[in-house]
Symmetry: C2
Subunit: 214 residues, 2 copies
């Protein structure tokens, strides 16, 4: 597919994003400038269209702020080693948790869930999970049915899928993009599928099955 040579108005029409918003993304360094053909003319290609779609996916679907989207896009564009790209993506999907605000008890419980896992003490996910534990117990709830342990099992399944999907890519650019997209959109995908699964399981458990299934 050859480059489409789009003008700004066409780029806007095809992406469904307003011209002023595209200019805003350029100002914010999320989107490179077009190919200049004069002091006030420029052309855009399929790469720009794809980038706009990625930006909207990260912000609208993934819930990233524009600032966070800029950080992960820079990580994709850079020639950083993959583990660094991974780390930037991980830090961008949620705010950093101040380690002093979580209790030692919560961290101990989370570490029990992750027994046998090789996870560094300052892994942001470990702290976030501990924060959930503190909130849970802080409002007087207890984990009566192994909720935390079973979420750890689910997380392991998803993380295996993430790593396998990464392994299926050969080029660095593709790997970097899947790291970012998988990290950011994985949370959205999971929460959507979990909501569907909740409806399924609660209808199974609390409703009488239709006669045809008896």
């Amino acid at each position: 597919m050859a480059d489409a040579d789009l003008k700004m108005a066409e780029l806007s029409a095809r992406s469904g994003v307003a011209v002023a918003t595209i200019k805003f993304y350029q100002r914010e360094n999320l989107l490179p400038a077009g190919v200049r053909t004069g002091p006030n003319q420029a052309l855009y290609g399929d790469a720009h269209l794809g980038r706009i779609r990625l930006i909207r996916g990260l912000t609208e679907v993934g819930g990233l702020s524009v600032a966070a989207a800029r950080r992960v896009l820079e990580a994709i564009d850079s020639e950083l080693p993959l583990p660094e790209t991974f780390e930037i993506a991980q830090h961008s999907v949620s705010e950093a948790v101040d380690p002093t605000t979580v209790t030692a008890d919560a961290l101990a419980h989370v570490d029990t869930l992750m027994a046998g896992w090789h996870v560094s003490d300052d892994n942001p996910g470990r702290l976030a999970a501990a924060q959930v534990f503190d909130t849970f117990t802080g409002i007087g709830q207890i984990d009566a049915a192994g909720w935390f342990r079973r979420y750890a099992a689910a997380a392991l399944v998803a993380a295996e899928a993430d790593i396998d999907e990464l392994d299926a890519r050969i080029e660095r650019a593709a790997k970097a993009e899947i790291v970012v997209v998988g990290t950011v959109l994985g949370d959205t995908l999971f929460s959507g599928l979990r909501r569907a699964a909740q409806e399924h399981l609660s209808s199974l458990r609390y409703s009488a099955p239709p006669a045809s299934e008896l």
Copy 2:
């Protein structure tokens, strides 16, 4: 534990939330007024402290907006049947997806993942998952290692844990709270644990294990 009879300054100190912010939550109907002891005096109890902790958990840990937090708190306080409370919680954790913006292809793929599940066509999670699929394919990525299918399996594990945790409660108030907290904080918990699992698995796969483990 008897009611603590806190004044505003003490409530603020114990919760770690500024007085002006607590007043803001009262204005916004997230937090009930205290027990009046005069035209410009009032006392607060443990219930207020717990409610503030719940508000902060929903907003800071769960990422809910104040408006969304108000909706789920109202659902907890109401005498609505549990399925309705569930639905309000589900709709509050993420923005509604316009069904006309997702492709039929994406919906078909998502429905394949959920084969055998009893899920209504307008389940918000089904639409959110389809939106992720569209974003994924829209930037030219393909699902090379069964990423979507494996996420569906993980979601089922988590949803089972959710339902079992709900079943472990007897009183309506406790059930309503766990429905909301589980729905809202479940996403945060999963994403944290997934990030930890990613570090674990990538260290397993890409680093030489220490000599002691050989």
